[in-house]
């Protein structure tokens, strides 16, 4: 199926989200995660200025909640998740704690990375979620985790999220090629939000879906409207199951949209790179609103349930802010220790010290042959 941002908008408002056959618990969890992520991002946006206490670039993911929500239900604690710079959804999807996320944004010692990484480089190794700002680099590492999992023959998988622009970097295709040739247990999720900073996809890539180009490498692909969380969940579920069953990698291209500017809490639409119509379309077709309409209509959820959920989430957010603000700044700046390990426990256990003899310098160098 050929899908594009233009095609999605041509279809008009999206109304065919279907929850038929889905158990209510799964639906409520998807909804709750999206609501939690949305409220978390909106609270951070409100707080970012004028306080200026979060002194790091933040790429907010308002409008792109469907993929992280789906992953939050599909991944196990042992699985690996690698995220792009718009990281908060992925971080929370892996069950990493919100208070350490907030403290990291504040540059505090209690942050997920003790204030070394910030929003765009955040990781939570205990939760096996790792971020990085330089588009496709983390995707290559996910392939490596998949390779390691395959060698260790466990039932884990590796999932990597990227934007459509990551496919313009060479390592993306090296990773797809390698994952395909080795049938690695990897799921690639591409959140196609059309813009790389302010540059639209059609200025950067030839027409046609990214997924069709990926498919040419022998990787299974799915292309879908990424604000339909039910479709996203179903596609990722299939991909995760295939990976776990040793059936190789899948690439899922989910069309979605970010509401905020590329970076920071402000709107960057004064630059004029996207139209008011386009923004309006995507806000009308918000992933949370689309699901909520069905849940309300079919009596899965009530307005009172939503208010209860919101209150619980807001309390968690308030606690996370309080934790972040009350935490001290990091003090220790032992640069060498921060960059290199102070100990070598395995080498200590396996290797012996020995003594060398006098080297004889009067020997011929190797003379290489023609190749």
């Amino acid at each position: 199926m050929t899908l594009s941002h233009e095609e999605i908008r041509r279809r008009g408002d999206y109304r065919d989200l279907s929850i038929d056959g889905f158990d209510h618990e799964t639906l409520k969890k998807l909804y709750y995660f999206m609501l939690r992520l949305r409220r978390c991002e909106l609270a951070l946006i409100d707080e970012y200025h004028p306080a200026d206490e979060m002194r790091c670039p933040i790429h907010f993911c308002v409008g792109q909640e469907a993929v992280p929500a789906s992953l939050s239900l599909l991944l196990k604690h042992d699985d690996y998740l690698f995220t792009h710079h718009r990281s908060h959804g992925y971080y929370l999807a892996k069950g990493a704690p919100m208070n350490e996320l907030f403290a990291e944004l504040y540059g505090k010692a209690s942050g997920a990375n003790g204030g070394k990484a910030g929003s765009q480089d955040i990781s939570h190794p205990q939760s096996r979620v790792y971020g990085g700002a330089i588009l496709a680099g983390a995707l290559g590492i996910a392939v490596g985790a998949g390779f390691g999992i395959q060698l260790k023959n466990t039932s884990q998988i590796a999932v990597t999220g990227s934007g459509e622009a990551a496919t313009e970097e060479g390592i993306f295709w090296e990773a797809i090629n390698f994952a395909s040739v080795k049938k690695l247990p990897v799921v690639f999720v591409c959140e196609n939000n059309r813009y790389s900073t302010h540059s639209p996809q059609e200025n950067r890539q030839p027409p046609g879906n990214i997924s069709s180009r990926v498919a040419a490498f022998g990787v299974r692909t799915e292309t879908l409207f990424g604000n339909d969380v039910i479709k996203v969940y179903a596609a990722l579920k299939k991909a995760v199951e295939r990976a776990r069953a040793g059936e190789g990698p899948t690439f899922v291209e989910a069309f979605t949209y970010r509401w905020n500017g590329h970076v920071g809490p402000e709107n960057d639409d004064h630059i004029g790179y996207r139209t008011a119509d386009e923004i309006e379309f995507w806000k009308r077709n918000c992933p949370i609103a689309l699901l909520e309409r069905q849940l309300f209509d079919q009596g899965v959820l009530s307005q009172a349930d939503k208010e209860k959920m919101s209150a619980e989430i807001d309390e968690e957010i308030a606690d996370a802010f309080a934790f972040a603000k009350a935490s001290p700044f990091p003090e220790d700046a032992d640069w060498r220790r921060l960059n290199l390990s102070p100990s070598t426990p395995l080498a200590d256990r396996l290797l012996k010290d020995d003594a060398s003899a006098q080297f004889d310098q009067n020997q011929q160098y190797a003379i290489p042959g023609p190749y």
Partner: protein, 332 residues
């Protein structure tokens, strides 16, 4: 005392590492072929199987990223690049990910990846098969850099890297592969950040990096006959770097020369001289000297190669001048 050449010492280290720990794997183009990267990986696939010794697509960038990801899962990958020039495709994976992984995880996540990289020299390797960019990589925090000169050191440093907790790069000069040295049979370690004094002397400290070590020792032998007593120090690793051994020597000799197989500008030799002068600059009896490659890409023609790489006589003459002597006539 058993002797082994540099290439065979690498092969032995890899085999022992794989025996000691099932998590050690070897990845690289053609590592599972009989020729085995100048003999350094020969036989490993027969001993340890095709899962642990794997050929890799010509995708240097994702090969490095793959090693990083695999190390997160608990493996200890060794990558092999037949030429440093090809490894440059993976500089993003090295500089933006591997080297800062520990730092940006606040020390919670280690990525013990060992990168073996060979520098070509001779037989017209030319500008894309001969670059020695050890200074570039030594500039990078979070990456250990070793440049072993002897078979003894390459085995010990390779084992130390594989079983260490940080990413490490072992820079191997192709010219050294045939050179024999005493190599113990056991699995021993050579620690990072520990220079070795290869020859004692009192008149000049000559620090020699990698392939320049045998040359420095020959020059010291020659100049001893002319009454210049040279202490030759091999730093062995550039990150971490053993400044103390060099400074203690220079405090005694009051003179410093560095022989570096890299380009002059931005050379690691410049770093060594600068560090030493920060401590001892006012005590030195002569301006420090560095012998490097010219600031030029490597020529193919053997006639130009002979002028491009410094000879024993070039180094000896620079030192003679430092001591106010006449350069020997045979020098060009």
């Amino acid at each position: 005392m058993r002797k082994l050449n540099y290439g065979k010492a690498i092969n032995e280290a890899l085999g022992q590492a794989m025996e000691l720990c099932p998590d050690v794997i070897v990845l690289g183009q053609l590592v599972d072929y009989k020729s085995g990267i100048f003999g350094t990986t020969t036989g490993l696939v027969d001993r340890f199987g095709p899962k642990r010794v794997q050929d890799f697509p010509v995708s240097e960038s994702v090969m490095t990223a793959t090693a990083l990801g695999a190390s997160l899962v608990g493996l200890r990958p060794v990558l092999v690049h037949q030429r440093m020039d090809f490894m440059l495709y993976s500089v993003d994976a090295i500089a933006n990910w591997l080297a800062l992984w520990r730092f940006k995880s606040n020390g919670q996540s280690s990525v013990p990846v060992t990168i073996r990289v060979i520098v070509g020299r001779g037989w017209g390797q030319g500008p894309q098969h001969s670059k020695s960019l050890h200074a570039w990589f030594a500039h990078l925090p979070g990456l250990k850099v070793a440049i072993p000169a002897t078979a003894y050191d390459v085995k010990g440093l390779l084992l130390e890297s594989i079983f260490g907790e940080d990413p490490a790069m072992i820079i191997e000069n192709r010219s050294l592969f045939s050179m024999n040295d005493h190599v113990p049979e056991n699995a021993y370690r050579v620690r990072y950040g520990q220079a070795t004094i290869r020859r004692k002397g009192k008149d000049l400290t000559l620090v020699a990096i990698g392939v320049m070590v045998p040359m420095a020792l020959r020059v010291a032998e020659q100049l001893a006959k002319e009454g210049i007593d040279i202490e030759v120090i091999d730093p062995r690793t550039l990150t971490p770097f053993d400044e103390t051994t060099i400074c203690c020597s220079v405090a005694k000799t009051k003179r410093l020369a560095v022989a570096d197989p890299g380009w002059y500008t931005g050379s690691f030799a410049g770093e060594i001289i600068s560090r030493t002068c920060e401590h001892l600059g006012t005590q030195m009896k002569a301006a420090p000297l560095r012998v490097c490659l010219p600031d030029s890409h490597t020529p193919m023609s053997s006639a130009l190669e002979a002028r491009y790489y410094p000879s024993d006589e070039d180094v000896a003459n620079r030192i003679r001048v430092m001591f106010g002597r006449q350069p020997a006539c045979s020098a060009a």
